[in-house]
Symmetry: C2
Subunit: 459 residues, 2 copies
């Protein structure tokens, strides 16, 4: 079989190629569709489907090859998946999902219409149905939900030649290993994990060597280990696969790095969307009602914060009436505190994600950031006060805006450090709630400090 | 060798364990340090080092095992690496980095002090120095900069048994394959890529089968393919490794999925830090001067935007003096437009990262979001106008705030969609510049629409 030609080598070329594909598929007539997507991989097709309006998705999906259709469903975001599954023919859907791996099937299940699900389950052979039931027992967000249950094992007393012979026999019986197999899990007679042996070692050490003499210690992942920790383990130890074990050390299945990559990508998407109060399953082309349901609550929360800030300003109407300059300058104080705080927030959220912030260093970090806050606050206060002085030429106003800005930048940076640590302890995602909490605080305190000082000193 | 015991299974336990480790290392006396970090992996040690103040890092790093020290350096963020390398003993440093892979060495080079670098180069054998020179030719952000140059190849006419025999011979010569090897690249006599054969197939198909009969088409990555596209290819095709090829199809090296995972993690960190104007190489404990250099320019940019907004407000001082309620309500209009726009911005930035936004659908997306903007704007305008009416009971003010809010939410959502598309075309990272550009716009337009309408209609 020939190798595929190298893909275009330049980002601009690549973007143009993606664009061209998107356009070809968007414009293809029904009879041209199958040709247009003939060479498209499932993950690419999933991206394409999500880039087009919902009413076109089921046509394009149906035009794909049978083996691509099932895999494509596993790559879609939940909301898009549910829409497509609702619109597709149930028999057609059942045919597409039946060949999938049990862990993939378990992920799809909640999003398939009952008719399609029943038809798909009816197609499974008894062994696969048993494996599916096994995976189903574990939630999606722990190791058990990511694992594949057909781990290939080796026995410690076998020779390498014997191990290879056993794999050939399995292949002759039509149960050849996946091409992603890179290591065998070494187990005792009770299926308890003893170690792991790399295929690279199986093929390169002398054929009469015993498995136990070349195996290395295995990192057994507890079946209920959270996905976040699964990712960290794979990343820290550069694993390609790892055994999933029960509480008593029995091998239950295997997680491969491609499943982990998908989990990392979801994490990356979440870190883009969480600060806007959205999650990664949102559809670009969600209908209006869905959009309101998605975005409304977040906007409502922000509205409450904004009214709180307005209420604070409302207490100083007399002050503003007498010195309108305060109303002109108050957004500067609020915004500088907010942006300075967002920088600390981002650094701490990254630090929490990398397990770099904990009990032993959080006070030191807070002190460090407070020193930064004081320095940055003073520095920018001089700048802002200078501009305000050039603008209005009122010495007391200059002093007040300088003091308020120093205070608000200091508070913003301190709270930008503190909020994510506190939110994490409360089991609230700091990336989701931290930014808005910070902005509301720096707005309220920015307005209060400027207008409060103004009331005290000017009037 | 025994398997390691399962790690704690619960996120809280895991956090506690990380915390405990951080604390132990932070408090260990010099003579206890080596014991405290004896079981720590390089990636974990790198995270630990970054979590402690700079003056302690070199002591902890020096206490690690020799083989851990080098790998740890490759896992550090650039800024921390440069600090540590500057403080460490050059000979000590040279000894740690000399055993690293050429691609890792090439990444470290720019951050090592000249004395340490020269000492390290002097330790390399001629073959490794040649390989290093090969990797150096390629920038860090393309496939050539990620690749390892010792790709293991197979010949199409060899039998599988012959291929295994060749690997055993290499092992006898002390050149055994890496345990991460999962596939061999099939090349012709000119070293041109023909395909790839999985080790799982080598060990399971009949020993007399020829390599060419079991190989599959290979995805050759062009040596100058941007890392972003390397990541997308691995993710889309679930690859564990891929050959890197020259323009004329010669195999130059091999990229493995663990290198790609590191690149994905950097991407994820970037998406957390970019909206705050920072990059992923920032040190949590950067000294004050460095902090000012990092954060200052971003704060200065924001200050310019804030003064622009203040300048707009300044034009309406008379209006505010006559109706202070406008000053009270103006942050509500600005903030709602900003937050509504951030949601569209996040969705589009995610869509751009997944190649889901292009020429063929961007106008449709913009129309879709404009419809969302009009609907959300009207909905929240009714709410805000209701509250304002209850507050002030002035029909014309109620109308004005409703109109200004509708306009600003609509504008925020429209520009939140448009900005990232335009920024990307200008080759500016939308995640970096999009949020601030949007906030400045919604602030300026929010103040202008409310105060402008107020001036027109109330006075």
């Amino acid at each position: 079989m020939p190798s595929t030609p190298p893909t275009p080598s330049d980002t601009a070329d690549q973007d143009a190629a993606n664009d061209a594909l998107l356009e070809t598929v968007a414009r293809a007539r029904p009879d041209q569709l199958a040709d247009a997507i003939a060479d498209v991989h499932p993950a690419q097709l999933a991206d394409l489907l999500e880039a087009m309006p919902p009413d076109r998705r089921v046509h394009v999906w149906s035009a794909a090859d049978a083996e691509v259709r099932g895999e494509t469903l596993t790559e879609l975001h939940d909301e898009v998946l549910a829409g497509l599954a609702g619109a597709a023919d149930p028999e057609h859907l059942a045919e597409a999902v039946a060949p999938l791996q049990p862990d993939e099937l378990a992920d799809l299940e909640p999003h398939l219409p009952p008719a399609a699900l029943d038809a798909a389950l009816a197609r499974l052979d008894p062994q696969k149905r048993r494996r599916l039931e096994h995976v189903r027992r574990h939630p999606e967000d722990v190791a058990g939900g990511l694992m594949d249950v057909d781990a290939v094992t080796a026995h410690p007393r076998d020779t390498l030649a014997g191990t290879i012979e056993r794999l050939r026999e399995q292949r002759r019986r039509g149960e050849g290993p996946s091409e992603h197999l890179n290591s065998l899990f070494v187990v005792d007679d009770d299926h308890r994990l003893l170690g792991v042996v790399a295929l690279a070692d199986v093929v390169s050490y002398p054929p009469d060597a015993r498995v136990e003499s070349v195996m290395s210690p295995a990192t057994g992942l507890p079946v209920d280990l959270p996905v976040r920790e699964v990712i960290a383990t794979f990343r820290d130890r550069d694993l390609l696969s790892a055994p999933v074990v029960s509480d008593d050390g029995l091998v239950l299945g295997r997680i491969t790095v491609d499943d982990v990559m998908d989990a990392i990508s979801e994490e990356a998407e979440r870190s883009i969307l969480a600060p806007a109060g959205l999650d990664e399953d949102k559809d670009l082309f969600a209908p209006l009602r869905t959009t309101l349901a998605h975005r409304g609550p977040w906007l409502l929360t922000n509205l409450a914060g904004a009214f709180l800030a307005a209420w604070v300003i409302g207490h100083f109407e007399d002050t503003i009436e007498r010195l309108v300059a305060l109303a002109v300058l108050m957004p500067v104080v609020a915004s500088m505190g907010g942006v300075a705080g967002q920088q600390s927030l981002a650094l701490i959220i990254r630090g929490l994600a990398l397990n770099q912030v904990g009990r032993s260093n959080r006070w030191r970090l807070l002190r460090h950031e407070m020193a930064n806050g004081a320095a940055l606050g003073l520095l920018f206060a001089v700048l802002v006060a200078g501009v305000a002085h050039a603008w209005y030429g009122m010495a007391d106003l200059t002093l007040i805006i300088g003091a308020a800005l120093t205070a608000n930048v200091f508070i913003g940076i301190s709270l930008g450090t503190l909020y994510p640590i506190v939110l994490k302890r409360l089991n609230i995602d700091p990336a989701l709630a931290g930014g808005m909490a910070l902005t509301v605080t720096t707005d309220v305190l920015g307005f209060f400090s400027l207008l409060g000082l103004g009331t005290l000193l000017l009037l």
